[in-house]
């Protein structure tokens, strides 16, 4: 396994340094906790204190970025019959969790996996959300199923306000559900728990040159290898604010690994027919769903501009029927604008196919999807802000069902891209 850790992260080559503990006590761990979100040392210390209340003879290593400003976190003494927690000073690659940065996040996840391998841990969990925003025992909540239920992947199920996590709600979660047959709510975490078996597979894939994204590919890999996945109900997390000028980069960076995984696991998902719910731990956290009135004019105008100017690109990707429907939609007034779920699903599937066929440059392809995505967001906002509108959960469930219903379209186009063109 030494091979697996080599080359994944330069810092892993260096001996991991424990703080305030004898070397023999910290040479191995049962659980490795990687803290990626920016947090002050006191918060990390508080999290460590909470981990120390975990019953049982567990050894928990907390990876802490010692480049962060401020004094090192202070940890209280160990208690008999409770977990032994120690800090490991590590220079994890800087990840920009707040913005696009998916490639750099992938590297960071890979580094945590390598550290866990080096410490011979039975599992690791990664906390990427801001710790200040988390419910205190999050780290253990996400790690517990790895030990108690022998889960291989623990995913969060955040309590979500209706206009949060829209990229996940519109594409990632429903498409993952339709493709792989499991109703995953947050396939890309980012707060996740990973078993030794799964992180070793991810490390091995990296050494064999398989271009897996350590974050985006975790869920598809676990699903396709029939590993056990459990969801844990969490409270709300603080989502990074929208950078409108950078939205197309976000879209390209997030969708690219998802579409690559679709290509990689095509033999698996073409066999899947129905979707099943995942086991969930904990009770859902209720949230206030009130939100201020939204102005969708800019988003609809962006859709209309895209429809006017990007026809030459969309024409290479979408079939004539979809283009015709989009042209009709672009003539609607803002208040009546609705992008039907069926059309949206076919658009996403057609873009996935064009990504596979490399119809045009992949970066151009994914960026040119931005006006369509904004059109969906505007449509979603309209649906939820109408008087007597359905709840977000019902709205997203109907979208998920549309993804499942449209899967036969995807399979046909995937198998016969030239022949099947409705």
């Amino acid at each position: 396994m030494e091979e697996l850790t080599r080359g994944t992260n330069l810092e892993i080559e260096r001996p991991l340094q424990s703080m305030g503990s004898a070397p023999e006590e910290t040479s191995s761990a049962d659980l490795v906790v990687g803290v990626l979100g920016e947090s002050d040392p006191n918060t990390v210390a508080k999290m460590c204190d909470e981990l120390r209340t975990v019953p049982g003879p567990l050894r928990i290593a907390v990876l802490h970025d010692d480049r962060q400003e401020g004094p090192a976190p202070v940890i209280s003494e160990t208690t008999e019959g409770r977990a032994f927690v120690f800090l490991v000073s590590s220079l994890l690659p800087k990840s920009d969790v707040s913005a696009t940065g998916l490639p750099s996040m992938s590297e960071t996840y890979q580094s945590v996996f390598a550290a866990a391998e080096k410490l011979q841990a039975r599992g690791c969990c990664i906390m990427a959300s801001k710790l200040e925003s988390t419910t205190p025992p999050w780290a253990w909540r996400i790690a517990q199923p790895l030990f108690d239920s022998q889960a291989d992947l623990v995913l969060p199920h955040y309590a979500r306000r209706k206009f949060e996590g829209l990229l996940n709600a519109s594409i990632l979660a429903p498409m993952m559900r339709a493709l792989y047959g499991k109703r995953v709510n947050n396939p890309m975490g980012p707060d996740i728990g990973v078993s030794q078996r799964l992180f070793q597979k991810m490390l091995a894939a990296k050494t064999t040159g398989n271009q897996l994204n350590s974050l985006a590919s975790l869920t598809p890999t676990a699903l396709c290898q029939n590993l056990q996945i459990i969801e844990v109900n969490f409270g709300a997390r603080i989502y990074p604010p929208t950078d409108w000028s950078n939205l197309s980069s976000v879209l390209a960076e997030v969708l690219s690994p998802v579409f690559l995984d679709m290509e990689r696991y095509a033999p698996f998902w073409q066999r899947t027919r129905v979707s099943l719910p995942l086991p969930v731990v904990g009770e859902p956290f209720p949230l206030d769903q009130d939100s201020p009135a939204m102005d969708t004019r800019d988003m609809v105008e962006s859709f209309q501009l895209g429809n006017r100017e990007l026809q030459e690109i969309w024409g290479l990707v979408l079939p004539p029927a979809s283009l015709f429907e989009l042209r009709k939609l672009s003539r609607l007034p803002v208040e009546h604008f609705r992008l039907p779920d069926e059309l949206w699903v076919r658009i996403v599937y057609d873009f996935a196919l064009a990504h596979r066929l490399r119809t045009i440059s992949r970066d151009h392809l994914l960026r040119s999807m931005t006006p369509l995505y904004l059109g969906w967001v505007a449509s979603y906002v309209h649906d939820l802000t109408l008087a007597g509108a359905m709840s977000p959960a019902h709205r997203l469930e109907s979208l998920s069902l549309a993804y499942e219903a449209g899967k036969s379209y995807l399979v046909s186009r995937w198998r016969w891209p030239d022949r099947f063109n409705p």
């Binding site: 996590g165 929208t242 976000v250 201020p292 800019d298 990007l310 045009i360 440059s361 960026r367 931005t370």
Partner: protein, 234 residues
């Protein structure tokens, strides 16, 4: 008198026939060279086509970012474009070899000059090709970027960028071909300067309202976002 005319006629006929006899082997050699080169061109083109098709060159080319080349290729197949280019090159070489078979000074000089010119032609073709691909790629990048920034003049920006690159590539190709280099330089300077000046004037004067509207909307949007934007994408 009649005898002299007869002698002149015989001498002229002899000269013509001698020259024709000297010319004939060259002509036969030219025809033979063309025939052999045609056969060679056909064989080489077939080999190149098969080799490229065996590793799915057309699909791979798309993956390397040259998908626009297909639009310029016969039957939308870059493999065919390359194989036919190889065939044409062999045919041209055969023609030049055939021409050189004529034992005349001017054919020798012509062939020598043609061979010396071939690297320039190839360089010009490469410059044109790369310039064209680059122009289309950059034009598309600018178009998508500008649409995503909600700029109403996205198409205009894209076309300007595309034509600037094409004009630049064309001027560079003519420079390589050594076709009236002074005039090309001057014309390019005037044309390029004209495009930039037109763009500046369009932005500064004619599109003032458009830009003011666009910038105004951005400012308005930024200020409204600063108040509250409940949308979260990631």
């Amino acid at each position: 008198m009649w005898e002299q005319v007869k002698q002149a006629l015989v001498a002229s006929t002899t000269r013509f026939l001698t020259r024709f006899a000297n010319f004939l082997p060259g002509l036969v050699a030219l025809i033979l060279a063309l025939l052999v080169s045609a056969v060679l061109a056909w064989i080489l083109a077939a080999i190149v086509r098969r080799v490229l098709a065996s590793f799915h060159f057309d699909e791979r080319l798309g993956g390397w970012g040259f998908s626009s080349l297909a639009e310029w290729s016969p039957m939308k197949s870059p493999t065919r474009l390359i194989s036919r280019s190889v065939g044409a090159l062999v045919m041209v070489s055969g023609f030049l070899i055939g021409i050189a078979a004529f034992d005349f000074d001017w054919t020798y000089l012509f062939v020598q000059k043609m061979f010396a010119y071939i690297p320039d032609v190839l360089a010009a073709l490469i410059v044109l090709f790369v310039g064209n691909v680059l122009a289309r790629f950059l034009g598309r990048s600018v178009l998508i970027g500008a649409v995503n920034l909600n700029l109403q003049y996205a198409r205009f920006l894209s076309v300007v960028v595309k034509w600037i690159v094409i004009v630049l590539a064309f001027a560079m190709a003519l420079e390589h071909l050594r076709i009236a280099p002074g005039i090309v330089e001057l014309a390019f300077g005037i044309l390029f300067g004209g495009i930039v000046l037109t763009l500046a004037l369009a932005v500064g004067l004619n599109s003032r309202d458009l830009i003011a509207k666009s910038v105004g909307r951005d400012v308005e949007k930024a200020s409204s976002e600063a108040v509250e934007d409940p949308l979260r994408h990631l």
